[in-house]
Amino acid sequence: MRITRREFLRGVVAGGTALAISGTLRSIAHAAPREPIRIGFPAPLTGAFADEANYMVQGATLAVEEFNRAGGVLGRPVELLVRDDRLSPDEGARRALELIERERVHFLAGVLSAAVQLAVNEVAKRHRRIFVSTSQSDKIVMPPDFSPWTFHEALTPWMTSTALARHVLREGRGKRVYILYADYAYGQEHTAAWRRVIGEVGATLVGVDPHPLGTTDYSAYLPKIVAARPDVLVLNNFGRDIVNSAKQAVELGLKQRAQIAVPIIPTAAALEMGPEVLADIVCASSYWWEVQERIPKSKEFNTKFSRRFNRVPSDYAAYAYSGVRELLEAVQRTGTTDSDRVAKAMEGRRYAHYKDTQYWRACDHQSVQTVFLLRGRERPRGPYGLFDIVATVDGERVIPSCEALGHR
């Protein structure tokens, strides 16, 4: 088929007119008073953490839908703009910038990987925009990364691993510990926390090996670990990396020889591991749905979530739900989308959206909250009854002081 010049011009003119008209229509729509409140939500929809990213998006969606059903916030609808950060800091920063500059979002929330989170945080900070982070990182609450507009809803690796390591090493003098960690911010920070507790209790670190993020075959790391005869094997990694490293360690019989400890086992990973791998592995968590036996608020949240998405919420689903909900409540209270004023209204506030009460510490905007310690069940109770809750740790007891983090 050949296109003549005339036809081509006609096509261009027609297309241009259509675009112009739709543009006008859109600006008319915008002129209406109900301009939505937009929250940009970068998450690693592809890559090794995709499972958990889906949970996060669902948690945030649930919070947004609840407000919209109740008539929106300040009479305006809320819009969640989810973007794939592909688990890459560069991509995350680009998406965040695009969300702020092109999509004109009022706030940012989300992100799952520690490294991506720091990149997104930098963009948000430069634009003086509120960012509610749902990813574990120590640096984000410490200068120079700390931002007055950033709130850290997730636990920090310091808090998580301190709680876990103190529990695992409670009679730890002389115990032999081996650490395998994913070689990026998350793995390094958890490893630092373990090293500190190992020093505190007088245990021995018999080996530390880094592995690249997204490694699928760990078999070559394992003979060395077997030979070191550790009492405790710590796997400081996340997402699919946990599934593969734990599965392969168990395959080689390491579970019979050592207590395996993992900072957090995301629900999707736990389900994939199955009881034969998961049994007796200990981990820490901000949330496990079975706490509903003692916390009524959790029961309410679980019901809402499972009614909407046909599965129980994971810890990261809860982070996203709670973070977005808390942000929108602050917007409602202050009657503005101005990041400065909303941030002021959040600082120091106590809230409970899905578990017991937590609060934003004023100096570093860390959400101080309960840490649960879990142990994999040999016989799960139903498809999701994977963990026993073996201990509950008050967040105050594992959080470093403001001064220790470099805040004055």
Binding site: L45, T46, N54, S219, P223, E251
Partner: protein
């Protein structure tokens, strides 16, 4: 470091290498006969793992899955060769590279659209779960099975190429396509068959690796690069080269994990560079 630990490290490396061998002989076969670099090889590997996982899910039979995955991948390979790759012969390497790369993108994105970013469960079959005593250490049964499956596959390939008429045609076509055709062999069928076989091997590799490493859309990305390195070290187009290089790289990498884990992922490329410097045609390459 005790002798037991060193032996265990060795066996571990051989098994990791075995998966590379299966995937790399497919890649090498395709290059040797069609003279194209198949950039969709990793995507075929992934698709093979998906098909096997689904087959286990539907039928409950791992052995059936291990048959279904490579056979359906062979069919897909023939389709791709007939429909796309076969139309680009004689146009130079770039065309086929771009075309197979496009196929890989379509497959990966298609899988994400159809089944999401989260792959299906794929467990080690019950009869191969657990460990066996190798004398110096306990070792997972399934990993030994992977080694056995690789050995059988390599033998099967050898038999196919050197003991069957089709193999004869394939070898003839790889040396002189024009003369082969002049002697009355339908060369287009030979090329399609070779591509199909190569793709089937990728699929088999994925099906074997699935229970060990998990099944997900991006699982083929690393293996593509790694098996390409193996093929370059072994010599493009050489089957024996792919086998030796695959095992060699597996063992060298395994010991790098032991002594200098930081270099474990670079060592592959260092080996490749060293090979190219000393013997540019690869260990068993001819040109």
């Amino acid at each position: 470091m005790s002798a037991q630990a060193l032996l265990l490290q060795l066996v571990t490396g051989v098994v990791v290498g075995a998966i590379w061998v299966i995937v790399a002989i497919g890649l090498s076969l395709i290059f040797g006969i069609l003279r194209i670099v198949n950039f969709a090889h990793g995507a075929f590997y992934m698709l093979g793992a998906y098909l096997a996982a689904f087959a286990v899910g539907w039928t409950g039979h791992f052995w059936l899955a291990l048959l279904v995955a490579p056979l359906s991948m062979a069919a897909l390979g023939v389709l791709v060769e007939r429909g796309l790759v076969g139309r680009l012969y004689g146009r130079g390497l770039v065309y086929s590279v771009l075309a197979t790369y496009a196929v890989s993108l379509v497959i990966i994105e298609g899988v994400k659209i159809l089944w999401g970013t989260v792959g299906p469960q794929f467990r080690v079959p019950a009869e191969l779960a657990g460990m066996v005593n190798l004398g110096f250490s306990f070792f997972p049964k399934y990993r030994l099975f992977v080694l056995l499956a690789t050995a059988l596959t390599v033998l099967g390939m050898w038999w196919w190429l050197y003991r069957t008429p089709m193999g004869l045609f394939i070898r003839a076509a790889s040396q002189d396509p024009l003369m082969t055709q002049a002697l009355g062999v339908d060369i287009s069928r030979v090329l399609a068959g070779a591509f199909g076989a190569g793709v089937a091997l990728a699929g088999l590799g994925g099906a074997l690796a699935g229970p060990l490493r998990g099944v997900f859309p991006e699982m083929g990305l690393d293996i593509l690069v790694e098996s390409f390195v193996v093929v370059v070290i072994g010599g493009m187009g050489s089957l024996l080269g792919a086998v030796v290089a695959g095992l060699l790289v597996g063992v060298v990498q395994s010991f790098t994990f032991l002594w200098a884990p930081v270099f474990a992922h670079v060592v592959l490329f260092l080996l490749m560079i060293a090979t190219l410097l000393v013997r540019p045609q690869g260990l068993f390459g001819t040109e």
